[in-house]
Amino acid sequence: MSAATLTPQAGRVTGPGVSFPRTLNSEWIKFTTLRSTWVLLATTVLVMVGIGLLGGWGIASGMEQMEAAGQDPAAAGMDSSLLYLMTSGGLDFGQLIIGSLGVLLIASEYSTGMIRSTMTAVPSRLSPLFAKALVVAVVAAVVGIVSSFITYFLLQPILANYGREFGLDVDHLMQSMLLSGVYLAVVAVMGLALGSLLRNSAGGIVTLVVLLLVLPIVAQIIPFDWVQDGVMPYLPSNAGRQMVMLETADGDLTQWQGGLVMAAWAAVLLAGAAVTTKARDV
């Protein structure tokens, strides 16, 4: 029994030490060995595809009815470009699930005590945080892009009923579909950072929802110009939406600008998380 199977050691410790790639591997194992990860990822794909298909079908049938009634759908804001956007039409809901996944990834470690095992194995503290950010960002991007393409391919037979199918060669369509993955990646990192800052699942998710959904609504009803022009466009979800647009209107943020503004939100939150992770007791 007992220590007979342990090798006694003398003097210096040999064998591999801690490194970022090893920490990344560990975080990947942790990420993939939780059932909740797979449930949330599958839900994200289902919800995003489902909303995209419903949206595309609704718009196409609406356009047909208006044309049958002799109206111009474009006058009501319904044209092909709106259909194109439906490839990532589930982004608003998908971001909440992916963002929650980011929050849970680290907040659940604090709530279960796992974080102490994590920080004991990798005492530099920042590596596990950044490794988690990398894992969740890459997975979120893949989920976003895969969802967009599944939506695209399932949407075409539906749109064909209305004669409104479109090809992947539509200008900026592929770019938009790929950037919807980037959008989810940035939201996932924001969620992770909030989960790390607050160390609490519910608090992190609520704060994320406030940032992504509540603030834009609140800002919209404040009638000051400086809010409308100086705040509204720079809120994370508003800036992010510009990033996945096929075309941006003059005076609005361009895709690039929107993407950078959104990434800045994530970078600031992650930097805050890094500082508190380093400073606070575990």
């Binding site: 199977t5 410790v13 064998g15």
Partner: protein, 328 residues
């Protein structure tokens, strides 16, 4: 080897650890004994770099824990049996921990076998009993085959077989020359497991001595049942002897050996129908130490931790003083 120098930890304005210094030597089991809330876990978290000391310093294997190149191979710790994600299986938990140091999967299987987790390794940790959780924590601590092992309350929740297993395991690890630092509030368990004892109370070191010294320094008590307690009490009276009447015919005598009591009784022609030397248990010794804490704390104890790590004999003297007071 663990070296703590003047460790202080204050949470808000509530001091948890107040200037603790000690050295845990390799090759023996060092027990860290104290009531709940005495500062044991806080001290251990500071050793592992999870809590930053308010002041003071602690080195493990000669460095700050976080400065080690391969910390899991240097130090293995069970700090909290619940330091595991409840939705993950034991096997996957250990695999993820091992991955940080490229510890091979074979070693993961080895520690699962070693800790007797084979049957439940593929089950989610949330369904584990407290005892299985402890075994998983110990498995994680042993993953890197570390030179120093720190276990916080390892026998909590274990069944008798598990307690015996931990006892033998830590003794075997110490016998291999490793540093073993074990906390507990169960004094009886410590008396069976530890070679050396660091007693902590209210965030301060009360005693730091070999366990035998702590036991020996306590006055021997003998339980005597006799139908003439008054006569025997008078006959035994003398310097350093205390006789307490516990029941009408029951005395508890300290300061006189059982044989001497029997001889006195024989000389006095007093019938004695029970004569039981009471083993000075660590539990009692511990109660004595903590009971005296308030009385002699301000003076001599300050001495104890000021010199800890260098003045071994000074600390023994303090222990003796603590136990001595009791035997008046």
């Amino acid at each position: 080897m663990i070296e703590a120098q003047g460790l202080v930890k204050v949470y808000g304005n509530k001091p948890a650890v107040q200037g603790v210094s000690f050295t845990v030597q390799p090759g023996r089991v060092t027990g860290f004994l104290g009531p709940n809330g005495a500062g044991k876990s806080t001290t251990m978290r500071m050793i592992m770099g999870l809590d930053r000391p308010t002041s003071g310093d602690v080195l493990v294997n000669g460095k700050h824990y976080a400065k080690h190149r391969a910390p899991l191979r240097e130090v293995g710790a069970l700090l909290d049996a619940k330091a595991v994600h409840t939705s993950r299986t034991a096997y996957n938990h250990l695999r993820a921990m091992a991955a940080t140091h490229s510890i091979p999967t074979k070693r993961v299987h080895d520690v699962i076998e070693l800790t007797g987790l084979g049957a439940v390794a593929k089950k989610r940790v949330g369904g584990f009993s407290l005892g299985m959780g402890q075994r998983l924590g110990i498995a994680a601590a042993l993953l890197g085959d570390p030179q120093t092992i720190i276990l916080d309350e390892p026998v909590n929740g274990l069944d008798p077989e598990g307690v015996l297993w931990v006892r033998n395991l830590v003794k075997a690890l110490a016998a291999e020359g490793r540093t073993v630092f074990l906390s507990s509030h169960l004094m009886s368990e410590m008396s069976l497991t530890a070679d050396h004892l660091i007693v902590i109370g209210r965030g301060r070191i009360i005693a730091d001595a070999p366990i035998q010294d702590i036991l020996n320094n306590r006055a021997q008590r003998v339980r005597v049942r006799t139908d003439r307690p008054d006569v025997l009490t008078r006959a035994l009276a003398g310097e350093g002897v205390s006789v307490e009447a516990r029941e009408p015919e029951l005395l508890e005598v300290s300061g006189v050996a059982a044989r001497a009591i029997a001889e006195t009784a024989l000389a006095q022609q007093v019938l004695v129908y029970e004569l039981t030397p009471l083993q000075a248990s660590l539990e009692e010794a511990y109660m004595d130490l903590t009971k005296d804490e308030v009385e002699y704390h301000s003076g001599p104890v300050a001495d104890v931790h000021d010199h800890a790590g260098t003045a071994e004999s000074g600390r023994h003297a303090a222990v003796a003083a603590g136990a001595g007071q009791e035997g008046n």
